[in-house]
Subunit: 771 residues, 2 copies
């Protein structure tokens, strides 16, 4: 953890030093993305120090042959991986033929890097004395456009300080790219064509096996001071690379500047034959607008996102910076426009964990997108899984399930399971429940039941079939049990009757039965279609009812709590506070972790979070008090749930501590791993910590409900909720909360259980006295 | 399974056909070895069809970098692997320059291969028409000497049948060898020197990382008909290879013969600088004796082994062949002369499972070696583990154990753990118990308690410390529990309170306490030394007693049986007989296997086997009847235990079926995997099936005890037992058993519980009437 490295600022992430040891971490933190493509904050110019290069394109993946020590039946043949794509940012810089390389300068000073989250760009400036003793000043700015999501733009300015000098820019595209996490050191890309058209460079590459075709392109403008220069470079074309070379004789104090427009077009959106012409069109438009206008459009587009998604916090700049960083990264990762895309755990900031989609999306991300975007976005996320339903059935059938049962994958790019650790791949089946919970959550929030007859019911039936087959009747317990699972707490494997899993299984069965009834009575055509498709019959539903009604839940009379799994109370229950070695995932061998009582992430409490309305506050308190002391939060997805529940229980200090941990996990690098990429999906949990935790937002009987609380460190905080076409702003102060509304009609909400009518265009002030 | 491929014969393994599909399987079955080196039955001449080349040297291994999909803390850095060593058998054969290659002949007929177990050699003969239409007859014989265990010898005879022809033999050594199971396709060997001295060829190679130095050598003799030819070939020397080339003009019907003496000398037994001179000495001696004398010595040496180890079966040639094959392979793998060596699960017949030593040695092999060899052999096997004690302590400390606790490895070459599957490596800890059980078993059988004060006690204390730390107190159960283990049944992972594990843990603690007392009272010096070394104190022993006395065992009142683990009765208990898909390890995904009731190998029953005297026969019957129906025997180590117990229970048909399955597992290729190598360690279980199962041999209060029974398929069977310097022959017939004795004094034994005195030199006939 390094709490002081990133400078506190409400709107920017700022690094005030060049530290070779921090380069890889900063490459993650300062990543930029537009939901379709993304780029780690690698330097444009040559850098020979330790670096982790990463350029990513949403949806473009490679099936990397599975690597395991001991093959288990059922393992998938490959792991679908986020791909490091051809380099579009590269601009090698030479000053009097001496390369600019921050790892090899005589000195570097005044180094500053800023990720401007308000306007959506990355900038960097520094002074450096090169090996030839020429001192230069550099200012570089880049962004990937969220207006035209196939375009990136870079402005790179070099000013010789102590003498005149010849500045040379060699902008290039490089297709000889590898993934650092490749299993077998194979290449994933093949370059098909490298081509220059005057000063434009094009490269067409395809991914091996998956055959995604990608066009990478570039064109540059050159300025001396502010004067545009004519370009006359010949392209240098190699097998996997194209570069140009531009020289500017700059006087002392006179700037030489390159503007590079570059990016990707792919056959996900264009015909393969048209990739180069499509790229040329993007370039035409970019050149037409020019860098400044593009940057201005970027600022305006981000302003629109912030207008809806921003959370303000007064009196705590680090908390403010943290939440904005989380919201910014989420929006850089996924904007919800394309139902083929999803929210990778590292977004476009790294390639760890390979695939793009985990249950994180359904369990953590959907609430954020539902409340801060048009409801179509959440619907797209649901449809993504609907579109993978057949693959989920295949996954289940590979594990021996029949009759159209579906098991959604632990990790996927295309619906097929990619993960290969038996205790996760085959046993962390609770993920299947999250698919259905997300549908329920969507309908609860948006009121749009139509998704269920249209698509959701098919998913729910396939998942219900899975649970029905996966549970077995224990004669001994005279109940249905679910054996051999891994719950959300991955620090227990192959356990029996994980409370969370059993609970969500039972819930899925009941919710499916209930939904079938509703569709039957209200959507006759869909009902007939789905029944025809699935061949569902009454006997099957009867069996579901039987399993749901007779599901076993381990319970301790002594402690008055549900047990995380059958054997939990046989463990030595020593609180985390007494634990000397942490984090245990680095200090302990795996078996020791497994037989310990330590919980990686909320598990029973995750169930209490999802199904809060099905338990009393006293129950929540009892379970929180039992499990929290054993929870080590070594998953990024854990503190947010505990923060929300601490807030519900009025334990604001604890809630605040958990909040800070989740909000600044990456900025302060709690787990010393940010160099691998940021924890994107858990960032949605940070948003929940404020909105659902401190703000106490719920949806109860089609109404928004709030229970506003505020940590004592804060003067006030505010957030907005897009609820059924009205936008409610909630502005919480220590002694009151202001509610104000945009939209056409008034909104009836609940505040601390009281019905309150908020009129459009007015601010309703709810004083704490009224409690 | 292919029950008819190998021809029934009491003393030989015979293959009567050349079947390309069977080549790899036969390469395993017809392997030869002498306890120090071994060789799969690869052809001497070129063979371009599918083949699995394997030459192995005991104790020579390579640490192959661990390959896993997901690293878990505690995994070893490498897997110590049995090494495929430089090829010493190669003789390429040309007839009028046409290569002999059985994969590319016009035709092959009269092909016969024989593994002559009585005399310890492999022979092969066939006729073939080569592509140049020359028909030849070939007779090849080879063996690796058990008299001089650094020497192999080959006689290869080619006779042109349909015309005269020039026969060319190119004998070679080849060091460019790879392991088929290399994790990273790395080379394990480096050739240091290739040298010819007249007609002798030498190659010195070293293993990378481990730096074993091995000299491979050869020299040939050439005969035309029976007339020895002068040799004049120049050596052809390449980087990793040396060859000679000898031509003989053979008339029609006239044989051309090469005799090749070759083998290995290693720096385990010689100075590195002397490898070539040591090899030259071996060659001198070999040439001096000549092929026929060497082969004769081999026959005599094997006769001595058979004299003691043979089991005869009358009336069932396949059963006879099976048991002899098992005894033969065990002796080929390990002769007990070198305490640095051990018994690899595939012996010298393949490289699967990598390391040389599993708990198989202690649990299955030691009884065979104790009863058929000098007791020094078993002592050497025990000392092997004593010599690895410090490594076992290191293994345990890597997993967080302290205070000199030891965890013996699952797989090893040098004492370090090699295995890398968390549920096995870290959790299949019952192996630790087998180390102590073997000591107990040795003392029980040999009466040689001295091993315990000398070496055994240190092992026992370190293991007791492990169990003491590994068990934890469950408040809920008010007992000590052992959580998160894999029992002998590897089809359950990470279970709690595996009966076998808990039982052997308790037993180890008690046996250690008991042994400490005995050593204290009888071996004062050793006691002081060991107490000084271990720093053991009364408090610690008190804690052991507490754990042992209060160990928890899951028990079912309903079924009257101990449960394999806490959750066993929650499973669906469907007998194997009703199971449609088998073997489940090929048909089912891993999770499905884990949550099923199916047992890979004896688990609770393994405990009943080890500790038979601690349970009643009624208990055994109850547990056998409960567990046997769920046991799929998909481990080679399983049927023998069930065979023995079926015999105890008088269920001779079942005992016989299990016997055949274990005895002919490889010959009939039950599991369709013999091409990877034979199941060497389970072969000792076959021996136990007869001696302990049918013969009912036990050691009770320092006396041999028998309960002879005979399967109705057999006329009679006999075996010998070396018991405390006397050799007892037991010859069982349907209505009587003959006991006869070699040695100086009479032996009092128990037969069906009756005391019987067997005089030396006499045969005591025990009639079944007397029962």
């Amino acid at each position: 953890m390094n709490q002081d490295y990133i400078q506190p600022d409400p709107w920017s992430i700022i690094e005030g030093d060049f530290d070779v040891e921090r380069v890889k971490s900063s490459e993650s933190l300062f990543s930029i993305g537009n939901g379709v493509m993304g780029q780690r904050a690698n330097f444009e110019e040559q850098y020979s120090g330790p670096s982790f290069q990463g350029s990513y394109i949403g949806g473009v993946y490679y099936p990397d042959k599975t690597k395991v020590g001991w093959w288990k039946n059922g393992y998938p043949e490959y792991f679908a991986k986020v791909l490091n794509a051809p380099n579009w940012i590269g601009i090698n810089v030479f000053v009097n033929d001496e390369p600019l390389d921050l790892f090899n300068c005589v000195s570097v000073h005044n180094f500053t890097r800023e990720l401007n989250m308000k306007e959506g760009y990355l900038s960097r400036s520094f002074k450096a004395i090169l090996k030839n003793n020429i001192e230069i000043e550099v200012k570089a700015t880049r962004f990937v456009s969220i207006v035209n999501n196939e375009l990136g733009a870079i402005k790179f300015e070099v000013t010789p300080i102590n003498q005149e000098a010849e500045v040379r820019f060699d902008p290039y595209l490089d297709g000889s790219i590898t993934n650092t996490d490749a299993n077998w050191e194979e290449r994933f890309w093949q370059t098909l064509e490298v081509k220059a058209d005057d000063q434009r460079g094009f490269m067409v590459s395809k991914t091996l096996k998956t055959e995604f075709h990608v066009g990478t392109y570039m064109e540059s403008e050159i300025y001396k001071a502010s004067e545009k220069q004519a370009l006359t470079s010949n392209a240098k074309i190699d097998e996997d690379r194209i570069s140009f070379s531009y020289k500017i004789s700059a006087g002392k104090g006179e700037s030489a500047t390159i503007i590079k427009y570059a990016g990707y077009v792919t056959d996900m959106n264009h015909k393969r034959a048209d990739l180069i012409s499509s790229a040329a069109s993007v370039l035409d438009e970019a050149k037409e607008k020019g860098f400044d206008q593009l940057k201005n459009e970027q600022k305006e587009a981000w302003a629109k996102i912030w207008e809806m998604a921003d959370i303000t916090i007064s009196g705590d700049v680090k908390a403010q910076q943290g939440i904005r960083f989380n919201i910014f990264q989420l929006n850089q990762t996924y904007l919800g426009k394309d139902e083929r895309l999803n929210i990778g755990p590292k977004g476009f900031t790294g390639e760890k964990y390979g695939g793009s989609t985990y249950w994180d999306t359904e369990a953590y991300c959907i609430p954020f997108y539902m409340a801060t975007k048009d409801q179509k976005v959440a619907r797209n996320l649901l449809s993504y899984r609907y579109n993978h339903l057949e693959k989920a059935k295949e996954n289940a059938s590979k594990l021996g399930f029949t009759n159209g049962a579906a098991l959604y994958p632990m990790v996927t790019m295309n619906g097929e399971e990619s993960h290969n650790e038996w205790e996760i791949t085959f046993e962390e089946i609770h993920r299947n429940g999250a698919m259905v919970f997300a549908i329920y959550n969507y309908v609860r929030f948006t009121g749009d039941f139509s998704y269920i007859p249209e698509k959701g019911l098919e998913v729910m039936i396939a998942v219900a079939r899975f649970w029905n087959q996966r549970a077995n009747f224990s004669k001994k317990k005279d109940k249905y049990v679910i054996l051999g699972v891994t719950g959300p707490n991955e620090y227990e494997n192959n356990v029996n009757n994980n409370f969370y899993t059993n609970y969500i299984a039972k819930w899925c069965l009941n919710y499916c039965i209930e939904s079938i009834e509703k569709v039957k009575s209200g959507y006759e055509d869909d009902y007939q279609r789905v029944m025809g498709l699935t061949g569902l019959n009454e006997g099957e539903i009867g069996s579901w009812k039987d399993v749901a009604e007779n599901m076993y839940f381990p319970y301790s009379e002594e402690h008055g709590v549900y047990l995380q799994q059958d054997g939990f109370l046989d463990k030595e229950l020593i609180p985390v506070a007494d634990l000397k070695q942490r984090p245990i995932n680095q200090k302990w061998s795996w078996d020791r972790i497994l037989r310990s009582c330590y919980i990686k992430q909320a598990d029973v409490l995750q169930g209490f979070y999802f199904f809060e309305d099905q338990f009393s506050k006293e129950d929540l308190e009892k379970h929180f008090d039992f499990y929290e002391p054993f929870t080590v939060h070594e998953s990024s997805l854990s503190p947010c749930v505990h923060s929300i529940q601490a807030a519900v229980l009025g334990r604001m200090e604890q809630a605040y501590d958990f909040y800070v941990r989740t909000a600044r996990l990456d900025l302060d690098d709690y787990n010393k791993e940010v160099e691998e990429g940021c924890h994107i999906t858990s960032m949605a949990g940070t948003w929940m910590s404020i909105v659902e935790g401190f703000g106490g937002m719920r949806v109860i009987d089609d109404k928004l409900s709030f229970n506003p609380k505020i940590p004592e460190q804060w003067d006030s905080y505010s957030f907005k909720i897009n609820f059924r076409d009205r936008i409610l702003k909630v502005d919480v102060h220590p002694d009151h909360t202001n509610f104000s509304l945009e939209g056409d009609e008034a909104l009836e909400i609940l505040v601390n259980g009281e019905n309150v009518n908020v009129e459009t265009g007015e601010t309703f002030k709810y004083s704490n006295d009224s409690m």
